[in-house]
């Protein structure tokens, strides 16, 4: 009896979580121009209108560019920070780690407003660079967490062996440490990309006028009407943000088994 109840409850929770997503995906293939049930036929017309919608495509390009740059900056900074924190006895190491991880814990709105006020105080206007910086701040913790965990498991004596054989510290990093770190770097980069790609709170505060990312574009479109285009766009975003990490995880696992974990 008890178990059956728990089972039913579990199913309901999952339905509550995933049914709306399923509905969005389903309706994006609806031929009817009103995005609602009953469906009148299967069609990919909303994906086509999406493709032809200049504003959405521009937002899409902005989001991809922003995501890629965020991922790039975050992984470089994250790897450097992890190296410093794991490999060197820096005074206040724990404090620095906590501070770097903190953006995960602080509510995003607070972080968004704080950065905005701070830059206002410094008389720096909104710009794409500022938006990028904001995204880096809250994707960096994820990169650091993943990369640090991996770095701890890379034995120090492997690097020492490379040094003793004549490789300089820089050569050792690029020929030994980085290749062994690669699965974590890739995973961290993917995290950063997907988090940046579907962020809305921070982006709304930081984006300069005239620049829209996909989530802010959807947000402004919703203010007018619920167009079936949005369903199609939602489907694309779901595929991207769910698919990319899955592919990434698979690639990372492959890399890890090849390099002996």
């Amino acid at each position: 009896m008890g178990w059956r109840l728990i089972r039913a409850y579990t199913v309901l929770v999952y339905l509550f979580m995933f049914l709306p997503i399923a509905v969005v995906v389903l309706l994006s293939f609806n031929a009817n121009q009103f995005g609602s049930f009953p469906m009148t036929g299967l069609s990919t017309r909303w994906f086509e209108t999406l493709w032809q919608n200049e504003a959405i495509m521009r937002a899409f390009r902005t989001s991809i560019l922003l995501g890629l740059m965020t991922a790039g900056v975050s992984t470089v900074l994250g790897v450097l920070a992890s190296l410093a924190l794991v490999r060197y006895a820096i005074p206040g190491r724990n404090l620095i780690t906590t501070l770097l991880i903190a953006p995960i814990l602080v509510p995003e709105v607070v972080l968004a407003v704080a950065l905005l006020l701070f830059l206002n105080f410094l008389n720096i206007g909104k710009s794409f660079t500022l938006l990028l910086m904001g995204h880096v701040i809250f994707t960096l913790p994820f990169v650091i967490l993943v990369v640090q965990a991996r770095l701890v498991s890379i034995r120090r004596d492997v690097e020492e062996a490379a040094l003793s054989l004549g490789a300089s510290p820089t050569q050792t990093f690029f020929s030994i440490t980085l290749p062994l770190l690669m699965p974590a770097v890739a995973a961290g980069g993917l995290f950063a990309f997907t988090i940046s790609f579907d962020d809305i709170t921070g982006t709304l505060f930081w984006k300069p006028g005239g620049i829209e990312t996909v989530p802010t574009q959807i947000f402004s479109m919703l203010r007018n009407s619920i167009s079936p285009e949005i369903n199609a766009l939602g489907t694309v975003i779901i595929v991207l943000t769910v698919g990319l990490p899955l592919i990434g995880a698979a690639v990372a696992r492959k890399l890890a088994t090849k390099s002996g974990g």
């Binding site: 004596d157 020492e160 062996a161 003793s164 004549g166």
Partner: protein, 362 residues
């Protein structure tokens, strides 16, 4: 010119002194072992020679050249670790070739040297494998090949056999010594295993608590320990309080309760120069148990009672009571081991004993 020389080296970590003022000269081509229990400073010393640690004081020279300020990657050393430390993402051949990449050697020459090194460690066919596909013993051979292929000025081995299981360890010990003799590279070996040290070394440096206890050839260190620590660390020794009654004519006369008075050669008690309290050192395997009343040989004889027997197959370790002393003896077993409670006669030769000043326990 020594291959490696340490002059007044000191290493401190905060308030803790890991290595006290230490000077050492290692001869070209020799196999030198730093021996001691964990925490004695042997690995710290090795890491300072390697350049992985900077000495707090003192000078390190390799081939007569001061290297204090030379970073590890410019010291031309071969380093072998306890856990092999092979590059997991590179094949065996790429592992071995790694050091050659930084030495301006053309491709053919490199391939030839790698093949040669793999031949030397008797694993010529494993070049295409990845380290995790190899056994521990094979991995350590590859690590050795990787270290010697660059023709290092000094080969540094940090407990390279400790991760291997017992049988393999003995094979590798012989193998390692063979390779070292073949290429003649100056080798510094760190271990806590006295058997390895005695079997492989030209010279042993016994360390304890950051200090050098004794430097000498294996036999010298074994037969004439310079301190109680050395006597006890290398093999099982009996240390008995005794009195020196006279030092004269190249002999040191000793007296201890329950024993007839006897004299040992002065060479076996270099630190005893006058009458006074001393410590008598007798190795467990130099004490021979016989049945009481058996034919007396050329040695001394005392009565003893067997208190306990540790049977080891071909030999046995006996725990004995001799007058007021607890002693240990290790003997080959002839027909049957002696039994607990049996009265025996304990034979030993005066020249197999050594003596230390009473206060020498470092």
């Amino acid at each position: 010119m020594s291959a490696v020389s340490l002059t007044n080296i000191v290493k401190r970590f905060g308030d803790f002194t890991a290595v006290h003022k230490m000077s050492l000269d290692i001869a070209e081509g020799s196999f030198v072992t730093l021996l001691g229990p964990s925490g004695c400073g042997k690995t710290t010393t090795l890491r300072m020679i390697a350049g992985l640690l900077d000495p707090s004081e003192g000078e390190i020279a390799i081939k007569g050249k001061r290297v204090n300020d030379v970073p590890i990657h410019k010291r031309n050393l071969g380093l072998v670790f306890q856990n092999y430390a092979l590059f997991p993402h590179k094949t065996v051949a790429d592992n071995v070739a790694f050091g050659l990449k930084y030495r301006n050697i053309d491709k053919d020459e490199m391939r030839r040297k790698v093949a040669e090194a793999l031949e030397l460690v008797q694993l010529p066919d494993l070049g295409g494998r990845y380290p995790k596909e190899l056994s521990g013993g094979q991995q350590q051979r590859i690590a050795l090949a990787r270290a010697i292929v660059i023709e290092p000025d000094v080969l540094l081995l940090d407990e390279p056999l400790s991760a291997l299981d017992a049988n393999l360890r003995e094979d590798m010990r012989v193998e390692l010594k063979r390779i070292q003799q073949r290429i003649g590279v100056t080798t510094v070996f760190v271990t806590h295993d006295q058997t390895e040290a005695l079997a492989m070394s030209d010279q042993i440096i016994v360390m304890s608590k950051g200090r050098v206890e004794q430097v000498g050839a294996p036999e010298e260190v074994y037969n004439t320990p310079a301190s109680e620590f050395v006597a006890q660390f290398l093999g099982a020794s009996n240390l008995l309080p005794a009195r020196c009654t006279d030092v004269s004519g190249g002999e040191v006369a000793l007296e201890l309760p329950g024993f007839p008075s006897f004299a040992i050669p002065a060479a076996r008690a270099p630190q005893v120069s006058a009458a006074g309290p001393v410590r008598l050192v007798i190795r467990a395997e130099k004490l021979h148990l016989t049945r009481p009343g058996a034919e007396a040989g050329d040695g001394l004889s005392v009565d003893a009672t067997v208190e306990n027997v540790d049977y080891q197959g071909q030999s046995a370790r006996y725990f004995l009571k001799v007058a007021e002393h607890q002693m240990q003896a290790v003997n080959m077993i002839d027909e049957r081991p002696f039994a607990t409670g049996e009265q025996v006669s304990l034979r030993f030769r005066a020249r197999d004993c050594a003596a230390l000043p009473a206060g020498s326990n470092a």
